[in-house]
């Protein structure tokens, strides 16, 4: 059994644009917000939040560039 076989995960994956990176970002979203809420503002939490946003923007750009090739 893989992570993708879990009911919630598979339902989320089915609803999205069929992309594992976006699925992972969606699933990681609550954890990142919870981390920020519990740990407060620090260099580490700001970096985690920054990486989350960069991953989303970067992946959209990557898909766009790949589609132009």
């Amino acid at each position: 059994m893989t992570l993708g076989d879990l009911p919630v995960v598979s339902a989320l994956a089915d609803a999205g644009p069929d992309d594992r990176v976006f699925d992972a970002l969606l699933l990681a979203g609550p954890s990142v917000v919870l981390l920020v809420a519990v740990a407060g503002r620090s260099l580490v939490t700001e970096a985690v939040a920054g990486v989350y946003l960069a991953a989303l923007i970067g992946h959209v750009c990557y898909l766009w560039l790949r589609g132009r090739d």
């Binding site: 644009p17 969606l26 990142v32 989303l56």
Partner: protein, 516 residues
């Protein structure tokens, strides 16, 4: 008639069940924040729509699938029911604090919370939340219990996408007329052939963008609880705030500019988001509505900035750009966040008349169809403009000429062009007619001489466009009861684009024997 009651009753019952589920989620928030005194009120607030919804569902479960008339009635009555039953948390929490049962150890009351002991104020807040309007009966949102802060936010977040979209996503039955209901909630766009798959994808995108918005606002300097609430209401283009002076509380240019992309995301249609998440960024300029979202926001903001700078409220160009850009985008996306308010700067109500009317125009037009934004919608404005040009140009062609109207990549023949033009014209005419009726009603019911005509026009356009910007007219004390009822009606018809409400009222009056 009985068939209609059964079909409408069954589907409104489903919507009430979904509403009860939302209150159950809010119960968890109350427990997390340690507001245990709020739990009994929330349990009752959840139980009433759940039980009533279950009864309706059980009684009429074998009813026929909805046709177009049923779909419109379900949308109109469902949204009305959500507005009424969604008021229960406000009403019951306020009365819990007022009665103060010793066993619950409720906190001390505040004037803000006390306003919700009036059922009309509670319904106003609920309707404003679910329709994504953002006009409020609170004086100071900061002193509200966290539970109610969340309920206001949550109602806007769900209402932004739509209560029928929510109900379809979680309670849908295959082949049960979901498409009819979906279309009756002012939506027509589809991402997948199946409506159920479409609404699930809409929620997928919406949830992902919510996390992105929360982290963006937090990185811009907002505390996390406020970032969560403002991200949810900003993305839903609702505009409720958990601070006393909306976004003006922060007086931070960084936060102002961080909110711009959040509001813009909310005003772009979900199918375009879906394509962009698949790497098709061409739609930012290739899709007619999305292109015009940027052109219209850019042009309107530039005009507003010019008015503000030329007429003097702001001494610096940066000040005029900061407040003009934010307020135009906030109005045109129908969000209603306010930065033009003390302590950051002078109030919107004190802006020069031409600046207020520019913002009013932005609220009337609104964002893209298929997004969370309200107003007449850009596509209708564009259809009207193209249709008018088409009709005028007709004079210059011979009678035998075969002409086509091009809208958003579609080529329409004479009949289809007439149909689309008429639909856009009807909605626009109704929109303006109700706007005028609302202005007259407000002028008759407000204290004479207290507010200017542009203030009144602004406030009604804000309610009907589901925007929420205020010149100071709306408030628990400042707004007389008939005006509150007027605003409730305008928020309701604005969210459903008027026609479903008129159809429902006609059906109710006709079948009820009021006229034949």
């Amino acid at each position: 008639m009985n068939g209609s009651v059964a079909t409408v009753g069954r589907d409104v019952g489903r919507i009430l069940q979904a509403l009860g589920g939302l209150v159950v989620v809010t119960l968890l928030v109350a427990l997390v924040w340690g507001e245990f005194w709020a739990a009994p009120a929330l349990v009752v607030s959840a139980a009433v729509p759940l039980v009533l919804g279950r009864l309706l569902w059980t009684r009429y479960r074998e009813a026929e699938d909805p046709g177009m008339l049923h779909g419109m009635m379900v949308a109109a009555l469902g949204w009305f029911a959500v507005g009424v039953f969604g008021a229960l948390p406000f009403l019951l929490l306020a009365w819990t604090v007022r009665i103060d049962p010793a066993v619950l150890a409720a906190p001390d009351g505040t004037a803000t919370l006390s306003a919700f002991t009036n059922p009309l104020n509670a319904v106003f807040e609920s309707m404003s939340g679910f329709t994504g309007t953002g006009l409020t009966m609170t004086d100071d949102e900061e002193v509200l219990p966290r539970t109610l802060q969340w309920w206001r936010t949550f109602s806007e977040w769900v209402g932004g996408v739509g209560v029928i979209v929510l109900t379809t996503a979680i309670l849908s039955r295959p082949g049960s007329g979901s498409l009819t209901l979906y279309e009756s909630e002012a939506r027509s766009e589809k991402i997948h052939p199946s409506v159920v798959s479409t609404v699930r994808t809409i929620w997928w995108i919406f949830v992902l963008f919510t996390f992105v918005s929360i982290l963006t606002l937090w990185l811009a300097g907002m505390p996390i609880w406020e970032a969560i609430n403002h991200a949810m209401t900003g993305l839903a283009t609702g505009g409720f705030s958990v601070t006393d002076n909306s976004i003006a509380t922060y007086d931070s240019a960084t936060i102002d500019f961080a909110l711009l992309p959040v509001m813009l995301l909310g005003s772009i249609a979900f199918p375009v988001h879906y394509l962009m998440l698949r790497g098709d960024l061409r739609n930012l300029y290739a899709d007619l509505q999305t292109r015009w979202v940027f052109l219209y926001m850019g042009g309107g903001s530039a005009l507003l900035v010019a008015f503000l700078h030329a007429t003097g409220p702001y001494d610096t160009v940066f000040g005029a750009i900061r407040f003009g850009l934010f307020q135009f985008v906030s109005a045109a996306t129908c969000t209603g966040f306010q930065t033009a308010s003390p302590p950051a700067t002078i109030s919107l109500g004190d802006w020069p008349a031409q600046a207020q009317l520019t913002v009013t125009f932005a609220m009337v037009v609104g964002g893209a169809a298929g997004s969370t934004a309200g107003g007449i919608k850009l596509i209708r404005g564009l259809t009207l403009a193209k249709g008018i040009r088409y009709r005028i140009a007709e004079v210059f062609y011979p009678d035998s000429a075969v002409r086509r109207l091009h809208i958003d990549g579609r080529i329409l023949d004479e009949e289809a062009a007439s149909r689309e033009f008429m639909e856009a014209a009807i909605i626009t005419l109704l929109w303006v007619a109700f706007l005028v009726v609302g202005v007259f009603t407000l002028l008759l019911t407000l204290p004479a001489g207290e507010f200017t005509l542009e203030n009144v026009l602004f406030e009604i356009a804000s309610a009907q466009g589901n925007v929420g910007l205020s010149t100071g007219i709306t408030g628990p004390e400042s707004l007389p009861t008939p005006s509150k009822v007027t605003f409730l009606f305008h928020m309701w018809i604005g969210r459903l684009e008027i026609v479903p409400v008129l159809v429902t009222l006609r059906a109710v009056f006709k079948r009820g024997g009021m006229y034949e």
